[in-house]
């Protein structure tokens, strides 16, 4: 069950929760499964829970990979 979306943490609230923002839509999610989350971090949200923090450097590296020219055709 994989529908999960990356959203930006806007506000930390009591009860180990946060308000996240995706494209202007705000939702309350639980932080019970993650640690060291700060406002401005991006998290992957699945069924109302943040599952993992997103690494912006790795994201940039991945995007750069997409743009690379590939290797030669095989012999």
């Amino acid at each position: 069950m994989c529908l999960a979306i990356p959203a930006c943490v806007e506000q930390l609230i009591a009860g180990d929760s946060a308000i996240v923002n995706l494209g202007g839509v705000r939702k309350e999610v639980s932080l019970a499964l993650v640690e060291d989350i700060a406002v401005g971090d991006y998290v992957i949200v699945h069924v109302g829970f943040a599952l993992q923090k997103l690494d912006p450097e790795e994201a940039a590296l991945t995007l750069a990979l997409f743009a690379e020219m590939g290797g030669a055709s095989p012999e």
């Binding site: 529908l3 995706l22 202007g24 839509v25």
Partner: protein
């Protein structure tokens, strides 16, 4: 000795009162409800006659009639309520034939226990919508069902109108080569309503787009009298509407994803919920299909009207014996935009 005031009845308690079975029984209580609430709000020459029917001279030309029942839940949502929705919905159904809407009827099924304050709010919203649209509610009915047998209130509206000469708008007139247009941003209403439903709460500033479209239609027909098809994509969204037309006209369609106007927030809300915006309901938008040489002129006419300012050409009609509605994704691949299956349930996966 006390004096009995002639014709005195206690006015309805709109603050604390609730609908009860006497309001539907045909007796004094019902007459009072009709008088103090419905007639007071809808007030027009027809209703003032106080008959069970409205009488008016037969309009000349081709008449159209349409009916719609409204069971939306919740009853009040950002941007509207079941009242104005029921007025707009039927005006729009009539207008989709190119007709000028003339009169509306409204019947109510009320649940025992429904607060009169909410009922008044709904009725006044209907009255306002009807006044703004210039289409009076000329006749109606009220029934009350026992508590538990109705979702607060159900409203059915019926409307009639007249189609101008030279206008032949019908779902079987789409032809290969025709262009497909939409009048603005899609998905607002469905997302606004879902934002309130139990278990799916989130904070957005999305409002329902509920609106009466007959003014926009009149402007469109004036610019392009030979519009082929008009339809408003309500339940099931644009995808369902286009599939219906494709089947009726025995054609296929090709849409371009990056041309379809959808607000960022609506896209984001759909991401959260695992919904496809093409299947989300609209209550103030229309889809139009016209000959390719008329498309630009039609688009200009739509954009010049406040309810069509974000109109766009989103695709074209093609030959296809299977009557598929297809879409070129922004990504570059192609997919089928199929009929909606069952109710659109949010995906988890």
């Amino acid at each position: 000795m006390s004096t009995v005031k002639h014709n005195y009845t206690r006015p309805l308690d709109f603050k604390q009162g609730r609908v009860d079975m006497t309001h539907g029984s045909g007796g004094r209580a019902m007459a009072q409800l009709i008088d103090e609430l419905f007639l007071a709000a809808f007030d027009n020459e027809f209703l003032r006659q106080m008959n069970d029917q409205a009488r008016f001279p037969a309009p000349s030309g081709r008449m159209v009639m349409s009916t719609d029942s409204h069971v939306v839940s919740p009853l009040f949502f950002p941007g509207g309520d079941i009242g104005c929705l029921s007025v707009h919905g039927t005006i729009n159904d009539v207008a989709m034939s190119g007709a000028k809407p003339l009169y509306l009827s409204a019947s109510f099924i009320l649940e025992e226990g429904f607060p009169l304050a909410d009922l008044r709010r709904i009725v006044e919203s209907m009255a306002q919508a009807a006044r703004d649209a210039g289409v009076p509610i000329v006749t109606g009915d009220t029934k009350v069902v026992e508590q538990g047998k109705g979702d607060g209130v159900f409203i059915t509206t019926t409307g009639i109108g007249v189609v101008p000469n030279g206008v032949n708008i019908s779902g079987e007139r789409a032809r290969p080569g025709d262009k497909i247009l939409v009048s603005g941003m899609l998905g607002d209403h469905g997302v606004a309503v879902m934002s309130l439903r139990e278990n799916l709460t989130f904070h957005t500033s999305i409002q329902s787009d509920t609106a009466a479209l007959h003014g926009l239609v009149a402007a469109m027909v004036a610019a392009v009298p030979d519009i082929h098809v008009l339809r408003d994509p309500t339940r099931g969204g644009l995808a369902t509407t286009l599939n219906e037309i494709a089947r009726q006209s025995a054609v296929g369609m090709m849409l371009y994803e990056n041309k379809i106007p959808i607000r960022e927030q609506v896209k984001a809300a759909c991401e959260f919920l695992g919904l496809d915006p093409l299947y989300v309901a609209n209550e103030g938008k229309l889809a139009a299909i016209c000959a390719p040489e008329d498309a630009d002129r039609l688009l200009q006419a739509m954009r010049a009207h406040p309810l069509g300012s974000e109109a766009a050409i989103v695709g074209e009609v093609i030959e296809d014996q299977h009557h598929f509605v297809q879409m070129e994704t922004a990504f570059g691949g192609r997919r089928v935009v199929d009929w909606l299956t069952g109710e659109q349930l949010p995906r988890i996966c």
